[in-house]
């Protein structure tokens, strides 16, 4: 497991002092796949490097397994090479003067624990087999393709059987198709080994597909943490909703708060009343932002039944995307984006009614 408590990291750069991490706390359970997701400069990589021991945090505490590896209070800082971790770098950092076999073997030969030659050979073969590089043992590292280098880096990180695996945007240098395959491969491998994994990425799809838990970071803090589905479906802040997937935001103020326990309440907006899920403890008059995902909105061609949450609009843009139809509908003076089945017949200028299901409308405080 990994435990981080109130981690702060400040460093001096050419632009002056930078607070890269400002009070991050998290816990990765044994065998869990935990992802730090966020835009560049949000502090996710710095956090990972602190866990690896490559950066020395300004304050806080970090534990790996049963060991405290950093604690500003107790003045502990275990250097990187004595931490029980394996790491895959964004650039892969394959040692160019060694061949495939030696790249994996070096950590075993030179590390703290000593292995016999036979053990080393077994472990290296095992690791290379795991990542399907078994037949490239003798190849010099510079003659590997990007994908092969990536898998070699993974094999090297795993060969020592570390307690935790740290992955720093390992897929960002691969092309789209390879990235998709590798994503699943890594996922499988990690689950099969049951190794605790801390993963850093700026790619929301990677985060959603691979993780048990996703933590969205912004400006040095974790904004929201939870299982991928929860992060996607019930973001607690506009930043999270914006960063993951596409979202429509409608401003409004609470008219009647619902009863406790996730019941829906009424919100008054410029386009009419909307029933939606309110954050707990909402009071009358609170200004809120209603969040609706494009794929949750449906069309109703006539307004025969007086349903709630139906808004009139005019189709502005229709884009055929193959697997879906992306449309933008003008509701009053606001564009609402929706994702429809490709067979739906719509044309520009057409008048439509949008249905926003109350259970899919989530209000967040402004």
């Amino acid at each position: 497991m990994i435990r981080i408590e109130n981690l702060h990291m400040r460093y001096r750069s050419a632009q002056g002092e930078v607070d890269a991490v400002r009070g991050v706390s998290l816990q990765v359970a044994e065998g869990q796949f935990y992802t730090l997701l966020g835009p560049s400069g949000c502090g996710k990589t710095t956090t990972l490097r602190c866990v690896a021991g490559l950066e020395k945090p300004t304050s806080g505490e970090i534990g790996i397994g049963d060991h405290i590896v950093f604690s500003s209070r107790q003045a502990i800082h275990v250097p990187a090479h004595r931490r029980d971790v394996g790491m895959v770098f964004q650039s892969y950092a394959i040692w160019p003067h060694l061949n495939v076999f030696d790249n994996v073997a070096l950590p075993l030969r030179e590390g703290k624990k000593s292995y016999s030659g036979k053990e080393i050979e077994e472990k290296v073969r095992g690791a290379l087999h795991l990542v399907k590089l078994g037949d490239l043992e003798k190849r010099p590292a510079p003659f590997l393709s990007g994908g092969q280098q990536q898998r070699l880096a993974l094999a090297r990180a795993l060969a020592r059987e570390p307690h935790v695996l740290l992955l720093d945007e390992p897929l960002s240098n691969l092309d789209a198709k390879l990235r998709e395959e590798t994503r699943l491969e890594i996922c499988d491998l990690v689950k099969q080994l049951g190794i605790t994994t801390l993963y850093v990425t700026h790619d929301q799809i990677e985060a959603l597909v691979m993780s048990d838990v996703v933590a969205v970071m912004s400006m040095g803090v974790i904004v929201q943490e939870g299982p991928p589905k929860e992060i996607y479906q019930s973001p607690r802040e506009r930043f999270v909703a914006d960063f993951i997937g596409m979202a429509n935001f409608i401003e409004g103020s609470v008219e009647s708060p619902g009863e406790e326990n996730g019941a829906t309440g009424q919100v008054k907006t410029a386009s009419g009343r909307l029933r939606c899920l309110l954050p707990s403890g909402s009071a009358c008059g609170d200004s809120v932002l209603i969040l609706v995902r494009p794929e949750d909105i449906t069309l109703c061609h006539d307004r025969s039944t007086t349903q709630e949450n139906v808004l009139p609009g005019r189709v502005e843009i229709v884009a055929f995307m193959g697997d879906s139809l992306d449309c933008q509908v003008m509701v009053d003076s606001q564009i609402v984006r929706m994702k429809l089945h490709p067979d739906v017949d719509l044309s520009r200028g057409q008048k439509v009614w949008l249905y926003l299901p109350p259970q899919r409308c989530r209000a967040i405080r402004r």
């Binding site: 001096r12 690896a52 021991g53 490559l54 534990g63 049963d66 060991h67 405290i68 590896v69 107790q74 003045a75 502990i76 800082h77 275990v78 250097p79 990187a80 090479h81 004595r82 931490r83 971790v85 394996g86 790491m87 770098f89 964004q90 650039s91 892969y92 950092a93 394959i94 040692w95 160019p96 003067h97 070096l106 950590p107 030179e110 590390g111 703290k112 624990k113 590292a141 510079p142 880096a153 090297r156 990180a157 020592r160 740290l166 240098n173």
Partner: protein, 583 residues
């Protein structure tokens, strides 16, 4: 529960105030600042010799004497003509050669790729001497040949002139400029030019508006660098200018100290060195700024695609001829002239009679002549110690500059680069003051004085090479070792050393190549046979008129330098492997 592991307070604190960077900074500061401050102090000295210097005897006399003398301004004019002329010649030749081999379908490119760097093996002193043998009005073989065949009464060409200095120095600047321009041309993303082509811009406009614009910052940086080299060099203006009393800065300072008729006045040399130094420092400052700009431009380059070569068509053969002519002038002809002269009992122009008089007596003389043996021994010790010291010191300096967060790393970088701006002659002069004034270094007149002087001079190159190499070793390669459980010293041995080896070897051999051939600084620190090195021996022999004997040593020196240069090249090719690692 959590268990506490390893490293407690004292260690942590010790990590925070690591003594090593301070040690390195202190040493470099001493090497660079001690001579400079004594140089400045000495310029106010009214005593003739450094040993007589005291703070009581100071004044502005030296400055008045030097800067009220109209000859000083003639000297500056000479220097400007000489520097700009040789840079213009050198850069245009180098750019032509680089463009021919990188961007055209000229045949036999390998000849140029391999041959141009070989010209580095010919020391400036020997290059100038060879051209004296060819173009001196009195003994020059080409002059004599032209006079006889055309029936001229006077020699048509005089190498003892500004033109002669520009010609020889221009040739000498080519290999370095060529080696700097090749990567510049190569790293330029051809897509940028292709984009111009697909936008309907014709090829010649593309070269003017895109290619040259992109090259401009880099090209300008190369020019400034070469100007500094030309300004600094002593040997070429020394051999070609001193006999006809055409002075540039470097030779004038030497002449003040080594005047045959007047007592040397060190203070005046210092006062003159001040303006020389100022020019050099200002140039260096702009050079560093340019480099910064050039690197910013480099960001837009990348991808290793090779552009389609320009088809030369009918110009193929003329292009090759021009390129080969350069090699002929820069290396083949000087070597042949030396070889020829070294077999002569006395100097004469080539003829059947001259060939018949060929003798090995000059080489035999070398074997028996006592000074040769001691000079060789001195040279060997001086060169090996200098190269080793420079390599190690540069590595530690660069480690601090590139890999630490030490507050003074920018300062250290500038200090280490500063000697590049200090001309060898000035550095020599400054170290004369150091060794004569600072009693705790009783090494004046020994080869150790030269070792210290050269090491200080060469760390500017050494740290540039090491910085570049360390930057290329992606930090993650090292970090990957740490997170794989390799302790720092093993990371050093298993990751750093193998990856840095080509650079170590490259810097070491580079220093050997330069320390063995430079005559300027050793001439300032030379005190007799106990610290006579090869370059000084050749200089003295030439000065005293033992030309065939000097040619014999010169031939041997050129041969060994050629072999060493070949070695550097082969090491250089291996370096490329290390580039592949981190992207």
């Amino acid at each position: 529960m959590f268990r506490v592991e390893a490293i407690r307070v004292p260690w942590l604190r010790a990590m925070d105030i690591n003594p090593w960077p301070y040690l390195v900074l202190g040493l470099v500061s001493f090497l660079v600042l001690a001579p400079l401050s004594l140089l400045v102090l000495g310029s106010f000295s009214t005593a003739r010799l450094p040993t007589d210097f005291s703070l009581a005897q100071t004044g502005l006399q030296n400055y008045l004497k030097v800067y009220l003398d109209p000859l000083t301004y003639e000297l500056m004019g000479n220097t400007v003509i000489y520097v700009s002329g040789s840079v213009a010649l050198g850069i245009s030749l180098a750019l032509t050669l680089a463009w021919l081999v990188e961007r055209t379908d000229m045949p036999a490119k390998i000849l140029i790729y391999a041959g141009v760097p070989m010209t580095l093996a010919v020391p400036g002193m020997l290059q100038a001497m060879a051209w004296v043998l060819l173009l001196s009005p009195r003994i020059g073989m080409i002059n004599r040949g032209l006079m006889e065949s055309l029936g001229l009464a006077e020699a048509p060409i005089n190498i003892y002139s500004l033109g002669g200095m520009i010609f020889v120095e221009g040739l000498r600047l080519v290999p370095t400029a060529f080696l700097m321009l090749i990567p510049l041309l190569r790293s330029m993303d051809p897509a940028l030019e292709e984009a111009a082509a697909t936008s309907g811009i014709n090829p010649s406009a593309t070269i003017r508006k895109v290619t040259l614009r992109l090259l401009a910052p880099g090209l300008f940086a190369v020019m400034v660098y070469q100007a500094m080299t030309a300004l600094e060099i002593f040997e070429v203006p020394g051999i070609l200018g001193l006999p006809s009393r055409i002075f540039v800065f470097s030779t004038k300072i030497y002449a003040i100290i080594h005047s045959a008729t007047l007592m040397p006045v060190y203070g005046q040399a210092n006062a003159l060195a001040m303006i020389y130094l100022l020019i050099a420092v200002v140039t260096t400052y702009f050079y560093s700024r340019m480099i910064g700009r050039a690197e910013r431009f480099a960001i837009i380059t990348g991808k290793g695609y090779r552009p389609r070569p320009q088809e030369l068509g009918a110009w193929k053969i003329p292009a090759l001829a021009v390129a080969s002519l350069y090699l002929l002038l820069a290396v083949v002809l000087p070597f042949l002239v030396f070889l020829y002269a070294s077999f002569l009992p006395y100097l004469q122009i080539p003829s059947a009679a001259a060939l018949k008089s060929f003798t090995l007596k000059n080489y035999r003389l070398l074997a028996t002549y006592g000074e040769v043996g001691s000079a060789l021994k001195n040279t060997a010790i001086m060169v090996v110690v200098t190269a080793t010291a420079t390599t190690l010191l540069s590595f530690f300096i660069s480690l601090v500059i590139v890999r630490s967060r030490f507050w003074g790393r920018k300062l250290l970088d500038q200090l280490a680069f500063a000697p590049h701006a200090i001309p060898g002659i000035v550095m020599g002069l400054a170290f004369v003051w150091v060794f004569l004034r600072l009693d705790f270094l009783p090494i004046y007149g020994t080869i150790w004085a030269m070792v210290i002087g050269f090491t200080t001079n060469f760390i500017s190159y050494g740290t540039r090479a090491m910085n570049a190499s360390l930057l290329q070793i992606h930090k993650e390669l090292e970090e990957a070792a740490y997170v794989s459980g390799l302790p720092p010293w093993r990371t050093m041995r298993r990751i750093f050393l193998p990856l840095m080896m080509p650079t170590f070897a490259g810097v070491w051999i580079w220093v050997v190549l330069h320390a063995v051939r430079i005559a300027g600084m050793p001439l300032m620190l030379y005190e007799g046979s106990q610290n006579q090195v090869l370059a000084i021996l050749i200089w003295n022999m030439w000065d005293e008129g033992y030309i065939p004997a000097a040619a014999a040593i010169g031939t041997l020196l050129m041969l060994s330098l050629l072999l060493l240069t070949l070695l550097v090249r082969s090491v250089g090719f291996r370096t490329q492997r290390a580039d592949v690692g981190g992207r």
